[in-house]
Symmetry: C2
Subunit: 562 residues, 2 copies
């Protein structure tokens, strides 16, 4: 067998280490700035790619990303496997049953949210193929179909994340948007599979287009019905007869790779097989939280950053940035999606403001458009400038979604403490004897529940504490912090029998500690306001302090203000 020379192994390890460290570092930085991690990961790739490093440090660039020899194949193989596994997790997040259950509004939003942007993209690309960067040899029809598809897929993970951050996931709007986005994702990918099958430049077998289309539709249909049922049937068997979760993990990964191979054989890209497999696997109730957690963690933190950073390596983002093309693509993409999904929502009976909100949420794109872009670029359907425009469009639409919806949904009902407190985070007898001890204890408990690092909570809370002390009157202390990336506010309530000094004005030690951790300013403001309202009265504090069970605590927090 052909082996890698030691120098090749060195380069592969060095390149992967550089890509992973930069991508993850930049991704974390982006999160700190309240932006999606994928933004940082792509920027890291652009910095390491031909755009910056290749231009200013060509020697280092050629060392890390040689163009000849076996190393590029290995790197291409690793990023391909990475994106295959990323699409597996994207598929797992699809909730098929909720798609099948969706109501009239969601149906209208999904249908109209795909048809309109598809039509916009199709017509535009059909009218101006050269301007938009279609390659010479590509048929106008294929290019138009590609553009239609590229503009109509929403980025489910991004959409979900935005809705969660805004606390809208469980509202009516959130439900409609989520099931529509799932449907769009699924439909968009099947659509793209068909387009890719039509391109078919140098695929495995000399299939007819018709053959490929039958294979794609057949595979999707079989996998989502029989396959899904088989997986659901086999999974408990594997869980019962193999070491857990190892057996299931290996099963899922093997199945994904096999489906990916089949998709390549059918004449479309491996990622399609992985996505459909993910959708089928994620459906099984037997997929345990901890199993999918292992997959999720390793994919989000190792495979996904590697893949997204590799996007930046494909081309020079400076020389291939064409302002006019990019603006047109962004404009048409936004118009088509907001109009399409928004009209669907309006037709479904939502008020105009909510309908626009639905359109804005569905407008967020992300990974999917970029993957389509790469595949089309590699298949020779589009030129580099169009690829760059698609990547930029995906980023811009993702970035604008959250602020736009936030601006739209001002004035919604404010949160109260009693909605947030949980029995797991109510402690009648904290043992620590000092302020920091109490805070550490409470942060640890909150972090365990939120699956987060206690150090981080504690650091943020004590940074806040350094600015103003959190001791209030009557023996209450309300430490708080804003924790970027939290899914929802966390309130931990603890009582300290002897009281600890939280620097209250009235000099009394705090016996009731209410730790408020919030993901954003709005929820922080709401909860602090509610705490202020409640604990400004001594009777309320005493009632909360007397609570020895969670029910009593809620009752105390629920008491009407006199």
């Amino acid at each position: 067998m052909n082996h890698l020379a030691p120098h090749d192994v060195m380069v592969v390890c060095l390149t992967l280490a550089t890509l992973l460290a930069s991508a993850k570092g930049a991704g974390e930085l982006a999160k700190k700035l309240n932006q999606p991690a994928v933004l940082g990961e792509i920027v890291a790739g652009i910095l390491l790619g031909p755009t910056i490093l290749g231009r200013y440090q060509p020697f280092l660039y050629d060392l890390l990303f040689p163009h000849t020899g076996p190393v590029p194949f290995v790197l291409d193989g690793v990023t391909t496997i990475s994106v295959v596994f990323f699409l597996l997790t994207a598929g797992i997040e699809i909730d098929l049953s909720s798609i099948f259950r969706q109501g009239k509004t969601a149906l209208l939003v999904s249908a109209s949210g795909i048809v309109i942007p598809f039509a916009f993209g199709f017509v535009l690309a059909g009218a101006f193929p050269r301007f938009l960067g279609a390659t010479e040899g590509t048929s106008r029809l294929i290019f138009a179909l590609f553009m239609g598809t590229a503009l109509s897929i929403s980025a489910l993970p991004v959409v979900a994340r935005i809705l969660m951050d805004l606390g809208l996931l469980r509202t009516e709007m959130g439900t409609v948007v989520m099931s529509s986005a799932m449907f769009d994702d699924l439909a968009g990918w099947i659509l793209f599979g068909l387009v890719l099958g039509m391109i078919n430049p140098n695929r495995t077998a000399d299939h007819h287009v018709g053959h490929t289309i039958i294979l794609v539709l057949g595979f999707a249909l079989l996998m989502l019905t029989v396959g899904r049922w088989l997986i659901h049937f086999v999974m408990p068997f594997i869980q019962a007869h193999t070491t857990w979760p190892g057996g299931v993990l290996a099963f899922i990964f093997s199945l994904t790779l096999a489906s990916a191979a089949f998709a390549e054989y059918a004449g479309i890209h491996a990622v399609f097989g992985a996505f459909i497999t993910g959708a089928a696997v994620g459906e099984s109730a037997h997929l345990r939280q901890r199993t999918s957690e292992h997959i999720h963690q390793i994919v989000t933190n190792v495979f996904a950053p590697l893949f997204f950073a590799s996007i930046g390596l494909h081309t020079n983002f400076a020389t291939n940035f064409k302002f006019a093309v990019t603006v047109v693509v962004i404009g048409v993409a936004c118009l088509g999606k907001i109009l399409g999904a928004g009209a669907g929502a309006r037709l479904g009976g939502m008020d105009t403001r909510t309908a626009i909100g639905v359109g804005l949420a569905m407008n967020a794109r992300g990974a999917m458009e970029m993957i389509l872009g790469i595949l089309a670029l590699q298949a020779g359907v589009i030129h580099e400038p169009m690829f760059v425009a698609l990547v930029v469009m995906a980023l811009v639409t993702s970035l604008m979604s959250a602020p736009a919806i936030r601006a739209l949904t001002r004035g919604k009902k404010s949160l109260t403490l009693k909605e947030i407190v949980t029995s797991e985070l109510f402690f009648t007898h904290l043992t620590a004897g000092s302020k920091n001890g109490v805070l550490v204890e409470m942060c640890e408990k909150a972090a365990a529940l939120a699956g987060n690092a206690p150090e981080r909570f504690f650091r943020l809370v004590s940074e806040r504490e350094r600015v103003t002390s959190s001791g209030w009157r009557f023996g209450v202390a309300v430490p708080y912090a804003r924790v970027t990336g939290l899914l929802h506010p966390i309130v931990t309530v603890g009582k300290v029998d002897k009281g600890v000094d939280f620097g209250a004005r009235d000099g009394r030690p705090a016996k009731l500690i209410v730790l408020i951790l919030t993901p954003n300013n709005q929820s922080q403001h709401d909860l602090l306001a509610d705490a202020g309202r409640l604990f400004s009265q001594k009777e309320m504090v005493d009632r909360a302090l007397a609570a020895n069970s969670f029910v009593e605590l809620v009752a105390a927090l629920n008491a009407p203000v006199k």
Copy 2:
């Protein structure tokens, strides 16, 4: 950049799916037969490799493992990355502080357990290089050094697993063996780094041997002192400032890849860098259980099977199996290690039987010898027959260890229930109202604690239940099962207020349920015997039934038999 053609992507995905599924399947089968998983994984590779598939289905074999084009490079890259990550986890298991703390006996065992087998291997290889399969060009000294090293490394993970299975891990013998094996692992790898540095056939830079040795020793020393300290210092910072556990995961993987690249640069193999990094990372108290769990699960269940299966692809294990060579290698390996480690233990003051036990435990080899073998084969130091002999030796010594020690340690003190029960698994009010309901409830709780699948526990217990009913007299039921792969016995105690029918002879419903899950026959026998002794007396049962706290339960189980 060079890109993979669709057909290449298909082959890569198909080959990885086949390797992973076969390796993991065979590994699970081996476990069912009470053998180490690695045995099954290697056998799967031999079946898929030139030995079987290549011989009988050459067309399929050439499709899966093409010898030309980019695919072999990608597969080689993926298996290299897999073994790098496997060595990371092997390194994490090394507990440096316990090595530095080890007492006189352990010191003697490690020293003598390395020096004697090394000397045996060195002398033998120096005397009969051709017979043992040294290649033409290799210097006698290098070959002798390699053989000495290959015979002197113990397989820490295998040793740990055997001791756990036998319940000896926390005995004096277990402690001595573990810290000696760790030391041997570390010393053996540094030794091998030096040997590899001397081979230096076509390495990155034209280092002198001296240069490489300085780099290897310097790297190991720095990483295990300053590096270890830096990691320990940086880790809480990363945990506090990034999403958890993603940031730490990416940090560890990047660091490992970077160290691997450095090791290749220094003139030795990437795995050395990964191993030392693992040792340094594993030392930090800030490495959380859940973080290392993610690494561990994905590596053991995806990367390790891929790597071990790939061992079988390197050569034809039938034609290259030379009986005489293999027997000599196995004989010398066993003799050297058992004698060396055993003599050290005897000198350290252990009785002869325990000393032999120590020698037998340390004799287990595993992954490490195989990795050394592959590297030496690729570097052209040894011929295929020697490689096959090393792999077989590693398997045989691993397989014989556990039965040999078991035969030796018959008659040790038997387990009692009160040593095994824990407060987490004592339930004063089970809610289920039927036998199966109760069993499911208890299995779920036991499985949650053991990180295992409740279905599996329940299946094994009900299979057992079908044979004989587990209801005893006086309202006690003692369901039990043997669960292969458990680390230690689990006893769950639950009380059902109303009682449920467990088919007891006296017709009384069971109110006290003691569920006993054991990894092996010995512990099962001990615990059932103890239960029988305790619950044959009505007073004892009543006392246990009256226990409303864990302390009262232990007191009841502790009561002297009248």
